[in-house]
Amino acid sequence: MPDHALLPLTALGARTPRVDSVGGLTITEVPDVALASLACRRGCDAALAATAEALLGVALPPVAGWAGTGPYGVFWTGPGQWMVEAPYATHEDLPDRLKAVVDDAGSVTEQSDAWVRFDVEGEHALALFERLCALDLGRMPAATVQRTAIDHLGCFVQCREAGRRYGAYGPRSAAASLHHALLTAARSVSRDRKVFP
């Protein structure tokens, strides 16, 4: 628990995360995520891979990959770049922990409040994302992450369970717009609609 007396707000501006259920789809705001970006310094690939794995318990994933164990998750965001996830409640100091192990092999930047995450779950999840982004989610297996544009916003979409559970990271300042886009699409697809497996 922090020592200070300041109370945080979620990205949607409330004390508690927002949960919406629309036609079999549940959209949940997930504020309990600490994020830190990890970028490889020039010529330090091996050192970064080794030191990061020592902390995270998994190897840094390849293109479009996600890996995780215990409190940590990590996904690829670009050549030599990854985003590390951990519960905010216990890992608010994630960047410090990460920097402590990777040292000069990597650049670490706090990203916890740069993003908002919405988890989307339900049998129409594919239909929902069909309305929102150009990704071919029907061919996206679990434990993968793709970057895309949703409602003009640069987002990461994580597949947690193919066809059913996804996470969408978008810019925190546009959380309300992203949430609105998700809700609108959910209402739009709320009737039964056949989609590709």
């Binding site: 945080p8 490889c40 740069a114 739009s188 009737r191 497996p197």
Partner: protein, 986 residues
């Protein structure tokens, strides 16, 4: 009596249910499965509209999306949609439609007087007539023409429906669900490929629905139903009825419009009315069929004259007769099929007029071989035709409907959307898809010029097999049913030569054979010129039933073969698309996403007025009770900052984290001024230039560690600067060890400005940080903690010219921080200020912002010329030293103050020397920014003035020709407060 022309049996309509609808206020009945056109015809209504130019009475020509005539205003109130094709509008209970382009009524239309004036209203009429007197154009001619132009009326209300967009992916996109499309989808679906089968109709089956054909000796409808049932059971097949593929784009991408709710009285809550799909296909097969073309002859536009194929479609699919006594005019065997079908339905066939002397005979009705229709009668609907028989005589034939068949045009449109041209096939006298198809697209069935049912089935299956083989998917051809396989017997025939009456080509735009002749006579012979001179092929139907006939006539006139005349360019969309569909969800407040600052909710609680700044919503000012004008509020906020302390959310300024062992070298190359030697714990103002030497953006760089900087940018250029840095890092200097990432959203950043700023911060920043001027001087920065331990960053920088800081905390704590600052500073007079006050403060201080760094200005113009370091290289540095860059008398940033304090200073006003004429030639600069300064007590401005640095004290004129102001202003140094910077260093 209701539905007088509904046939006794047959048709793919649900006769067990009755739907009630109105047309022009009169109530009618139809059945599920009807279109508005089929239901009206069943009720004996042939007259459905008036033509565009001559207001000629018109009925439907077709039974599909190619319809030029039967356009109506569908629905009421805000949902009223003009120019809707009655031939595709699906009937629902309570449907309301009105005819359009007529006054006072459809039967009696006053503007039909145009028809009497048709001799004068030929092609090119406007261009020739409205040239004189010139002054009449804007005031008289144009308003009058605009009033007369157009067909339907907009509701002028907001569209209450919602629209959506989406993205689909497939191995094979099958466009059209006739026999070819169904065979293709079945073949690919059984192989496990991802298939999308899209058809514009609400009932799949294509022409099979309109014919009396059998497949394997059973009605075609049975086969269609069985195939659709199987397709529905295949997990990788997506069947999309009511979906028109409207465009073929690059890389196998197709645009499609799905009409989700157009067949419902009102969409269900949340349900989009239409969806614009972007379909990413690996392969596509066009099975869009063909469109029947009419033959032009005198007065061939009367209600009751239809495509022969449409006539039998209305009978076979909808059980509707256009009239009880019918004639057919044809140049092919296909016209005879219409006669046979209608005869089988019990209708009387008055005659079949076939231009071919060897026309097939019939035991059931008279066939006039080698004959032509040369005239028609009936003011509001056909009553009879005049036939010129093979022996040269004429004969009157009484009939209420005439089916015309001039052959079929394959629907080649999508094959040409990327610039390809179709190929002429003399065997069917039509254009077929050319060899240069869009990559990944193949064509099957009637769209490829194969008109028999067996041929369509065969080509559909083969097309799918070929596409799958390309993709490496194993597939086998399905067993196809036995079907008719008759060759197309046709003799090319385009128009009946006659001097009497007008022979209509484009019924939507009232273009006649004579108009084409006139275009030829006046030299508009290329098809694209012909189109624009006569308006042929324009408007909602894009000439689907008319272009072919017109260019055949042009070929005759020019003595060229038809393929040499060619076609006009086919462009998307294939059929009209509502603007709402193109907009999708992006309209009104949802036009684009909005970014909210971390203190947005708090600012809203304070009653802030917000303003859009790019995509951000920022607090513009915070009115208090009793303040009746925004200026009162802004003046108060400005004075509070100058006299006590103010707080302002500046999160929107871009923040970029720059790390790496070469981070300092990197910034040295990005900024024109030196950054490499900036000490850790210090901030420096930086200016970056474009490659051409012009100013690009400004901001600050704070060095948090040897290998770690935080760079700020302007709000407007946050993304552009980040992109620029990524480009430089990846492409220009990949050898540098530097990593960049945006942290704009991650940190809530609050400006704390004013002489009491330090006092306030001492109450918030934890005492472990010494904020004294010695320990934390101007341009210092540090990682600190606030409010008992929250990590934060503190920068002592000033935009206002006051003692000022910017304090950043993780964004989730931004709201709590501003509340803490307001609570802690109550006795210090802490005042929230918005962007308006921010602007006034920076103008008073003479800080350049977006108005000054607008892409047209240089470092020297901004008074920052000496910042461009000569000790190192940086982007734009060399070109910024071009001698001619600033011109012979360089513009310089100056301050401007009105001689009369009551006068306004207007941004955008031009600066002219006193006594100079108010002309562009006398222009000496312009006012970039202006505000009322409560500190100065008058309006003030910043601006660029030729030779400005040497003209301090001079009086010049600020002239705003648009607003009509001409104000004497004194040129002053651009620092209205604290020119020596003592306050910000205090």
């Amino acid at each position: 009596m209701s539905q007088t022309n509904r046939l006794a049996g047959g048709g793919l309509i649900d006769r067990s249910r009755v739907l009630t609808f109105t047309f022009d206020g009169r109530t009618y009945q139809g059945h599920p499965g009807d279109t508005l056109a089929s239901a009206l015809l069943a009720n004996g209504v042939r007259l459905m509209g008036r033509s565009f130019k001559y207001h000629r009475p018109r009925g439907p020509l077709s039974a599909g999306s190619e319809e030029p005539n039967a356009l109506v205003e569908l629905r009421d109130g805000a949902r009223r949609e003009p120019n809707t094709r009655a031939t595709t509008a699906e009937l629902f209970d309570g449907l309301t439609a009105r005819s359009q382009n007529r006054w006072p009524s459809l039967r009696f239309d006053a503007l039909a007087v145009n028809d009497r004036l048709s001799t004068f209203l030929t092609a090119g009429f406007y261009y020739k007539t409205f040239m004189w007197p010139r002054s009449f154009w804007e005031k008289v001619y144009e308003p009058a023409i605009r009033k007369a132009a157009g067909l339907g009326r907009l509701s002028m209300q907001d569209d209450p429906d919602v629209y959506d967009k989406g993205f689909l992916h497939c191995d094979l996109l099958v466009i059209g669900a006739g026999p070819a499309g169904l065979a293709a989808a079945l073949t690919a679906g059984r192989a496990g490929a991802r298939v999308i089968l899209a058809d514009e109709d609400f009932r799949l089956g294509g022409r099979l629905n309109a014919e009396t054909l059998t497949l394997d000796d059973a009605p075609a409808a049975d086969w269609v139903a069985a195939i659709l049932a199987e397709l529905a059971s295949l997990p990788t097949v997506r069947v999309m009825p009511r979906t028109t593929v409207v465009g073929a784009f690059d890389h196998g991408v197709y645009g499609a419009v799905e009409r989700v709710a157009d067949h419902l009285p009102v969409p269900e809550p949340g349900m989009p009315r239409q969806i614009l799909w972007r379909i990413y296909s690996r392969r596509a097969l066009l099975c869009a069929g063909a469109t029947e073309r009419p033959i032009a002859f005198a007065d061939n536009d009367r209600p009751g004259i239809l495509q022969a194929g449409a006539l039998r479609a209305y009978a076979n699919r909808w059980g509707a007769a256009v009239a009880r006594r019918v004639a057919v005019f044809t140049n092919s065997d296909d016209g005879h099929r219409t006669a046979r079908d209608l005869h089988a339905h019990g209708l009387e066939i008055a005659a079949v007029i076939d231009v071919r002397s060897d026309a097939p005979r019939s035991p059931d009705y008279e066939v006039l071989a080698g004959a032509q229709v040369v005239g028609t009668a009936g003011r509001l609907g056909l009553t009879g035709i005049t036939v010129r028989t093979a022996d040269g005589g004429t004969r009157k034939v009484s009939c209420g409907a005439l089916g015309v068949s001039g052959g079929w045009n394959p629907a080649v449109h999508l094959t040409c959307h990327q610039g390809a041209r179709p190929r002429w096939d003399a065997a069917i006298a039509a254009f077929v898809p050319g060899p240069d198809l869009p990559p990944g697209l193949a064509v099957a069935g009637a769209a490829a010029g194969t008109f028999s049912t067996a041929g369509a089935l065969r080509e559909g299956a083969a097309g799918a097999l070929a596409a799958l083989a390309d993709l490496g998917v194993a597939a086998t051809a399905p067993a196809l049913p036995r079907a008719e396989d008759a060759p197309a017997g046709i003799t090319a025939f385009w128009h009946v030569a006659s001097d009497a009456g007008r022979a209509w080509l484009d019924q939507q735009n009232d273009v006649t054979v004579k108009d084409v002749k006139l275009a030829h006579q006046e030299g508009f012979r290329a098809v694209e010129h012909l189109k624009r001179y006569t308006t042929l092929g324009m408007a909602t139907d894009q000439g689907k039933t008319s272009n072919m006939g017109a260019l055949a006539i042009m070929a005759e006139l020019t003595g060229k073969p038809i393929p040499e005349v060619g076609t006009t360019m086919f462009r998307p969309p294939y059929t009209p698309v509502a603007l709402g569909t193109l907009a999708g969800r992006s309209r009104g407040d949802d036009f684009r996403p909005r970014r909210l600052t971390p203190t947005h909710a708090w600012a809203a609680e304070q009653g802030a007025v917000f303003v859009e700044v790019g995509t951000w919503m920022r607090a513009q000012y915070f009115p208090r009770p009793g303040e009746t004008h925004w200026r009162q509020t802004v003046d108060r906020e400005v004075l509070a900052v100058r006299s006590a302390v103010g707080v302002c959310d500046v999160t929107t300024l871009g923040k970029i984290d720059v790390q790496g062992t070469d981070a300092a070298s990197f910034l040295d190359r990005i900024y024109c001024n030196g950054m490499a030697k900036l000490a850790v714990g210090r901030v420096r103002y930086g200016l970056m230039l474009r490659e051409d030497g012009m100013a690009k953006d400004d901001g600050t760089a704070a060095r948090l560690a040897e290998d770690h900087f935080v760079v700020t940018t302007t709000t407007a250029n946050a993304v552009a600067v980040f992109r620029h840095m990524e480009f430089c890092r990846q492409c220009l200097w990949p050898d540098l060890d530097v990593q960049v990432i945006s942290t704009t959203d991650a940190w809530a950043q609050i400006a704390v400005a004013g002489p009491r700023a330090r006092d306030l911060l001492r109450r918030v920043v934890d005492p472990t940080t010494d904020l004294s001027n010695d320990a934390f001087p101007f341009m210092a920065c540090a990682a600190v903690t606030v409010c008992g331990g929250l990590r934060a960053r503190l920068f002592r920088i000033s935009f206002s010219g006051e003692l000022a800081y910017e304090l950043a905390v993780p964004a989730r704590y931004g709201d709590a921080l501003v509340r803490a600052l307001m609570a802690a500073g109550a006795d210090l007079g802490v005042t929230p200020y918005g962007t308006e006050a921010l602007g006034v403060l920076r103008i008073e201080k003479g800080h350049a912002a977006g108005n000054e760094i607008n892409g047209q200005t240089t470092a020297r113009m901004l008074g920052l010329g000496r910042m461009v370091s000569s000790k190192k290289d940086s982007i734009g540095a060399v070109l910024s030293r071009r001698e001619a860059l600033d011109g012979p008398v360089p513009l310089r940033l100056v301050g401007l103050r009105p001689v009369n304090p009551a006068d306004p200073v207007v941004a955008g006003a031009h600066l002219l020397a006193r006594g100079a004429p108010t002309t562009a030639a006398s222009d000496e600069g312009w006012v970039t920014s202006a505000a009322f300064s409560p500190h100065v007590g008058s309006a003030i401005g910043l601006g660029f003035l030729a030779g400005g640095e040497g003209r301090i004290g001079e009086i010049v004129r600020a002239v705003d020709p648009l607003g009509g102001t001409d104000v004497a202003v004194e040129v002053v140094v651009p620092h209205f407060v604290d020119p020596d910077g003592e306050k910000l260093r205090a």
